[in-house]
C-alpha cells in the first residue's frame, strides 16, 4: 500500500495549538512530526520587571496549569533571594497544587481523553438496566439506578435527535477502534456530565486560598490568605470546613467514579498496553515538599530518573545536565544551532524558516516547531504521571508500589504494560487516587499547626528589594500534573535580568534533536502504532492525549536583550 501523508491540525481536546503529521503505511505509522504552532514570547516580556510580579506573568503561560507556573516562579525567586516560606504556606501550596492535580486529571480523563475511547452515539443503544448493573458492580457511587441512566440517555437522545451535535459533530463515531459495549459508553457519558459539575465545586479550594480560579493569586514569601479564626475576612473555621468538605467530595469522586471508570474502560483496551511506549527514559523533579523545600528526602513524589525502562535503578537528577537544543525549532543560537544550552545561559532568537501560511505540510522540513528540544544528558525524557509512577516505583515508594500492583493485577497484565499509551493514562489515575488521599493529611497538618497557635503564612524578612543582593539567581522546580517543570531566574539590581522556563510539554512535545532522536510524542507514534483510517485519526488522538498536551506551556522564549526579536524575518 502506498504511503499516506496525514496531517492532524488542530489537535483538539488539548491546551493550545498542536499539529501532528505522520506517514502511514499499511495501517501503521512509520514516521511522525509534532509541531507546536503558537509562540507568545512571555518571558521576553518579563525583562526588567519586579521579580515579585513574575508569578503573575508566568502563570498566564497557561490557564489550564493555572497553579504550576505561579508556584514554580515563586520558588525560583525564593531560591534566588534565600527566602524560606512558613510551614503553613507550604501546606497551603500543597493543598492548592494537590487540588490542581486532581481537578486537572479528572477533567483530562472525562472531557479531553474519554471521547477517544467512548463512543457517545453508541450510548444511545444502551440498556440503562445494564448500565446500572455495571455501575453497581464497580462502585458504591450513589448515582447508579437504571432510572438515572435512562434519564441521561433520554437527554442525549434529545440532543442527538435535534440534529445539532455541537461538540460531538463529525466525531469518529462507529470507528472500529471503539470497543466499549453501549452500556459502558452510557456510563461514561453520564460521568462526563457529572464531572462537569464536580470540577466546578472542588476547584473552589483555589478560590478560598487564591481568590479565584483560573489564575489564583500567589505571593513570593508565602501566601496572601491570612489565617485568623476570629475574623470574617480570613481563613477561619467556616472556610476550613468548606475546604474540608471539598477535599472529601474530591476524594469520593476520584475513588468511586474516576478510578473505577478508568479501570473498567482500560479492561476493554488492553491491546493499548503494547502500543505507543516511545522514549524509554523517564524523569521526575519530585513534588509536594512535606518539610523544607531543600529537604529532598521529604518529597511526597520522589525525584529521580529511570533510564532504558530499568526499574531496578533510580539515577539522581542533576539540574546542570539539562540543555535545550534548537536543531528542529524556529530559533537560532548565536554560537551555532548545534549547541545545547543550559537554561541559566539560554539564548533565544526566533527565526522562522517555515513556509508562508497557509501551510500544506511541515514534514521533511529541517525546522518545524516553536518547541525547543530539551535533553537531559543528551537524552530525550518522558515526563508526567507515568514518569512519577516509575521513579516512585523504582525508589520503593510504598503507596505507589501498591497502586501499581493493584492495577496490573486487576487488568492481568505484566509490568511491561506500563510503558505504553494505556500506561500513561492509568498512571494519571493512580496518582490522582494517591493525592486525593494525601490531601486529607495536608489538611490535618494545617489544622494541627493552627491549633498549636501557628498562623503565619508569609515571611516578610526579604520582601523589600533593599534587602536583596545586587545579583542573584534561582531555580524553581516543581513536578506539575504534566511533568517536570523548571523556572530559572536571574535578578539584578532588584529587577529580572533573565528568565527561562523548561516545561513538561516541551520535554514531551520536543521535535527531533541534532542526533535525530525523536521527542516523546513523536517516538510514541511510531512505536507499534496503528492508524486504520487515515481520514479518521482516532488512534493518533489516543496516544497524543495520553500525554495530556499543554502547548501554551511548552513554547516560551526568553531573551535578556529583547531587541533581538525585533529582527525576526519571515523566510
Amino acid at each position: 500500500m502506498a504511503v499516506t501523508k496525514v496531517v492532524v491540525d488542530p489537535i483538539t481536546r488539548i491546551e493550545g495549538h498542536l499539529r501532528i503529521e505522520v506517514e502511514a503505511d499499511n495501517g501503521r505509522i512509520a514516521k511522525s512530526w509534532a509541531s507546536s504552532t503558537q509562540f507568545r514570547g512571555i518571558e521576553l516580556v518579563m525583562e526588567g520587571r519586579d521579580p515579585r510580579d513574575a508569578w503573575a506573568f508566568t502563570q498566564r503561560i497557561c490557564g489550564v496549569c493555572t497553579v504550576v507556573h505561579a508556584v514554580a516562579s515563586c520558588r525560583a525567586v525564593e531560591d534566588a533571594l534565600g527566602i524560606k516560606i512558613p510551614a503553613n504556606a507550604n501546606l497551603i501550596r500543597n493543598l492548592v497544587h494537590g487540588m490542581q492535580f486532581i481537578h486537572d486529571h479528572v477533567i483530562h480523563f472525562y472531557h479531553l481523553h474519554a471521547l477517544d475511547w467512548v463512543d457517545v452515539v453508541s450510548a444511545l443503544k444502551a440498556n440503562p438496566e445494564g448500565t446500572a448493573g455495571i455501575a453497581k458492580k464497580i462502585s458504591p457511587w450513589p448515582n447508579n439506578s437504571a432510572t438515572y441512566f435512562a434519564e441521561i440517555q433520554e437527554r442525549l437522545k434529545k440532543f442527538v435527535g435535534s440534529g445539532q451535535l455541537g461538540i460531538f459533530a463529525n466525531g469518529y463515531w462507529g470507528h472500529p477502534a471503539y470497543k466499549l459495549p453501549p452500556e459502558v459508553n452510557l456510563l461514561a457519558v453520564a460521568h462526563y456530565l457529572e464531572a462537569l459539575d464536580w470540577q466546578r465545586d472542588v476547584v473552589r479550594l483555589h478560590t478560598i486560598f487564591g481568590g479565584k480560579n483560573p489564575h489564583p493569586n500567589f505571593l513570593v514569601g508565602g501566601m496572601a490568605s491570612a489565617i485568623n479564626l476570629d475574623d470574617t475576612a480570613t481563613i477561619n473555621a467556616e472556610r476550613l470546613t468548606d475546604i474540608r468538605d471539598m477535599i472529601t467530595r474530591a476524594r469520593r469522586f476520584v475513588e468511586q467514579v474516576y478510578w473505577p471508570d478508568l479501570v473498567a474502560i482500560a479492561g476493554f483496551y488492553k491491546d493499548w498496553a503494547a502500543i505507543g511506549g516511545g522514549v524509554p527514559h523517564f524523569m521526575s523533579y519530585g513534588e509536594f515538599p512535606e518539610g523544607d523545600i531543600g529537604d529532598l528526602d521529604k518529597l511526597y513524589f520522589p525525584r529521580g530518573i529511570v533510564l532504558d525502562m530499568d526499574l531496578t535503578r533510580v539515577h539522581p537528577f542533576e539540574p546542570e545536565r539539562v540543555q535545550e537544543f534548537i536543531n528542529s525549532s524556529w530559533y537560532e543560537y548565536p554560537g551555532g544551532d548545534e549547541q545545547g544550552l543550559h537554561p541559566y545561559d539560554g539564548e533565544t532568537k526566533a527565526k522562522y524558516t517555515g513556509p508562508k501560511p497557509p501551510w500544506e505540510y511541515l514534514q521533511g522540513l529541517p525546522k518545524y516547531s516553536w518547541m525547543k528540544s530539551p535533553r537531559y544528558d543528551g537524552r530525550p525524557m518522558q515526563v508526567g504521571p507515568l514518569a512519577r509512577a516509575l521513579v516512585g516505583y523504582a525508589s520503593g515508594h510504598q503507596e505507589i508500589r501498591e497502586m501499581v500492583k493493584q492495577v496490573l493485577d486487576t487488568l492481568q497484565v505484566g509490568p511491561a504494560a506500563l510503558f505504553s499509551t494505556l500506561g500513561r493514562t492509568a498512571a494519571r489515575g493512580m496518582e490522582t487516587v494517591l493525592l486525593a488521599r494525601q490531601m486529607d493529611r495536608w489538611y490535618a497538618a494545617l489544622v494541627d499547626r493552627i491549633k498549636s497557635g501557628d498562623t503565619q503564612t508569609f515571611s516578610r524578612d526579604k520582601w523589600e528589594p533593599s534587602t536583596w543582593p545586587a545579583e542573584s539567581k534561582g531555580f524553581g522546580w516543581l513536578d506539575a500534573p504534566r511533568g517536570a517543570l523548571g523556572h530559572w531566574v536571574r535578578i539584578k539590581d532588584g529587577k529580572i535580568s533573565k528568565y527561562q522556563c523548561v516545561v513538561p510539554s516541551t520535554w514531551n512535545c520536543s521535535p527531533r534533536d541534532g542526533k535525530g532522536q525523536l521527542g516523546p510524542y513523536e517516538a510514541s507514534l511510531v512505536d507499534n502504532h496503528p492508524l486504520v483510517r487515515p481520514d479518521q485519526p482516532l488512534e493518533i488522538l489516543r496516544t497524543i492525549h495520553s500525554f495530556d498536551p499543554c502547548m501554551s506551556c511548552g513554547v516560551h522564549v526568553l531573551d535578556p536583550r529583547g531587541a533581538l526579536l525585533t529582527s525576526v524575518k519571515v523566510q
Partner: protein, 382 residues
C-alpha cells in the same frame, strides 16, 4: 451605542428557513443530512429523519475560536454556575466549534466549523479567546495551517455579533505587554464592521461570559457597553466603590505588609498595591467560582486585570497607586478623577458629573500611568 440585532432563532424561524434565505437549496441540505447520518453511524436511510429534526432546530449556533491564548478563559467558562456549562452545552446553545471540547480533530473539526458557519450565516454568535499576532505575517500562531487573522476574518463575516472574551481578545494581554514580541492585538483592532463586546479580565468571571450570551439570546441584542466595549451590567462599577474593605480605606486602616495584624483583620490592601481604585470589574459583586470569594477577599491586592494594558500600567503590582486619598464618596470620586487624569495621556478629563454611564464612559482616560518597566517600545496597539 448600537441597534438591536436579529435574534439568531426567532419564533418560528427554523434552520430550513434560514438555509433557504441564505441560498442553500433543499437538495444540498438533504445531502448534508445524509452525510451527517453516515458520520453518526446511523446509515444513509436515517438522513431524512436527521433532516426532519434539523428543521426543528432551535438552539443558536456558537462558534468559539481559540487564537493566541492560554485556555484560561475557556476554563473560566467551564466553572460557570448560572447557567452550568452542562446546561449551556446541551440545552441553550449549539457549540459548533471549540478546540477544547470537540470530539473530532483536524480536517473533521474544521469541516464541522465550515458547515456550521454556512448553515447559520449571519446568525451565529462568535466567541473569541486569544489575541491576534500580527507581526511577520502572523506566523506566531497558526492553526490548521492558517493565521489567526485569516481565521478570525473568515469567521467574523457570518457572525451576528462577536464576544471578545478575556484580556487577550480584548487588547492582547500578557503577550502584548512590553515589548509585545509578536505584535499581538485584540479583536476590535481587526474587526471593524461587526458589533464586538469585550468581556474583560484575565480571565473574566465565567458567569459574565454566559450572562452575556444569555442576554443576547433573551433580549435579541448585546448589552450596553462602556467606551472599552465592556458590558455595563458587569463592568459598570469600580472595585473600590463596591469593596467590602472600603470602610477600612475610609477609616485609614491599611495592611502595611502581608500577614500583619491588619491583614489578619481583613483591612484595606491599598498600601500593598491594590489596584481596586482604578479597576472596573464585577469581582466584589459577582465574586468567583459560585460566589465563593474573590482576590481581595482572599487577602491579595487586585492587579487590575479588567483594564487594558494592565500588565504595564498596573505593575509593579505591589506598588501603591498614586494618591487615592480623601474622605466621603463624592469628594473622593472627584479627587480620584483629577489625580488620575494628571497622568492620563488623553488630556484632562472633564469629570464634573461623576455618575453612572458618563463616569463609566470616561474610565479609560482615568487610568493611572504608573512608571512602566524600563526598555522596549510602547505597546503597538494603543
Amino acid at each position: 451605542m448600537h441597534g438591536p440585532l436579529a435574534h439568531p432563532w426567532t419564533e418560528g424561524d427554523t434552520l430550513a428557513q434560514h438555509l433557504e434565505r441564505t441560498g442553500i437549496t433543499r437538495r444540498e441540505f438533504l445531502a448534508f443530512c445524509r452525510d451527517l447520518s453516515i458520520v453518526l453511524g446511523l446509515g444513509t436511510v436515517a438522513g431524512k429523519q436527521v433532516a426532519a429534526a434539523l428543521q426543528q432546530v432551535k438552539r443558536p449556533s456558537v462558534i468559539w475560536l481559540q487564537l493566541q491564548e492560554c485556555t484560561g478563559c475557556v476554563e473560566s467558562v467551564l466553572r460557570t454556575a448560572e447557567p452550568t456549562i452542562g446546561n449551556l452545552l446541551l440545552d441553550l446553545v449549539s457549540l459548533d466549534y471549540s478546540h477544547t471540547l470537540m470530539a473530532a480533530a483536524g480536517h473533521a473539526v474544521e469541516s464541522a466549523k465550515e458547515a456550521a458557519m454556512k448553515a447559520n450565516f449571519g446568525q451565529y454568535l462568535l466567541v473569541v479567546t486569544g489575541s491576534i499576532p500580527t507581526k511577520d505575517g502572523g506566523i506566531y500562531t497558526v492553526v490548521g495551517g492558517r493565521t489567526c487573522q485569516d481565521i478570525l476574518e473568515e469567521a467574523a463575516k457570518g457572525a451576528a455579533a462577536i464576544l471578545a472574551v478575556g484580556a487577550c481578545a480584548h487588547w492582547g494581554s500578557v503577550q502584548a505587554a512590553r515589548p509585545n514580541p509578536t505584535g499581538a492585538v485584540g479583536v476590535r483592532d481587526i474587526i471593524k464592521n461587526k458589533p464586538v463586546i469585550n468581556i474583560a479580565g484575565c480571565p473574566p468571571i465565567g458567569d459574565v461570559v454566559t450572562a452575556t450570551v444569555v442576554h443576547f439570546l433573551t433580549f435579541n441584542r448585546l448589552p450596553d457597553m462602556d467606551a472599552e466595549g465592556r458590558p455595563l451590567f458587569a463592568y459598570g462599577a469600580r472595585i473600590h466603590d463596591q469593596c467590602p474593605r472600603r470602610a477600612n480605606f475610609d477609616a485609614g486602616q491599611f495592611v502595611e505588609v502581608f500577614d500583619d495584624d491588619a491583614a489578619r483583620r481583613g483591612w484595606c490592601l491599598y498600601k500593598v498595591g491594590c489596584k481596586g481604585p482604578a479597576t472596573f470589574s464585577p469581582c466584589p459583586i459577582f465574586q468567583w467560582n459560585t460566589r465563593t470569594s474573590w482576590p481581595i477577599g482572599a487577602g491579595h491586592p487586585c492587579i487590575g486585570c479588567t483594564e487594558p494594558h494592565f500588565w504595564d500600567t498596573m505593575s509593579p503590582f505591589y506598588e501603591r497607586l498614586p494618591d487615592v486619598g480623601g474622605f466621603g464618596v463624592e469628594q473622593r470620586v472627584d479627587i480620584l478623577g483629577a489625580a488620575l487624569a494628571l497622568g492620563a495621556t488623553a488630556g484632562v478629563v472633564a469629570h464634573a458629573a461623576a455618575t453612572g454611564i458618563h463616569q463609566a464612559r470616561e474610565r479609560k482616560r482615568q487610568l493611572p500611568v504608573i512608571e512602566p518597566p524600563s526598555g522596549g517600545p510602547p505597546p503597538s496597539n494603543t
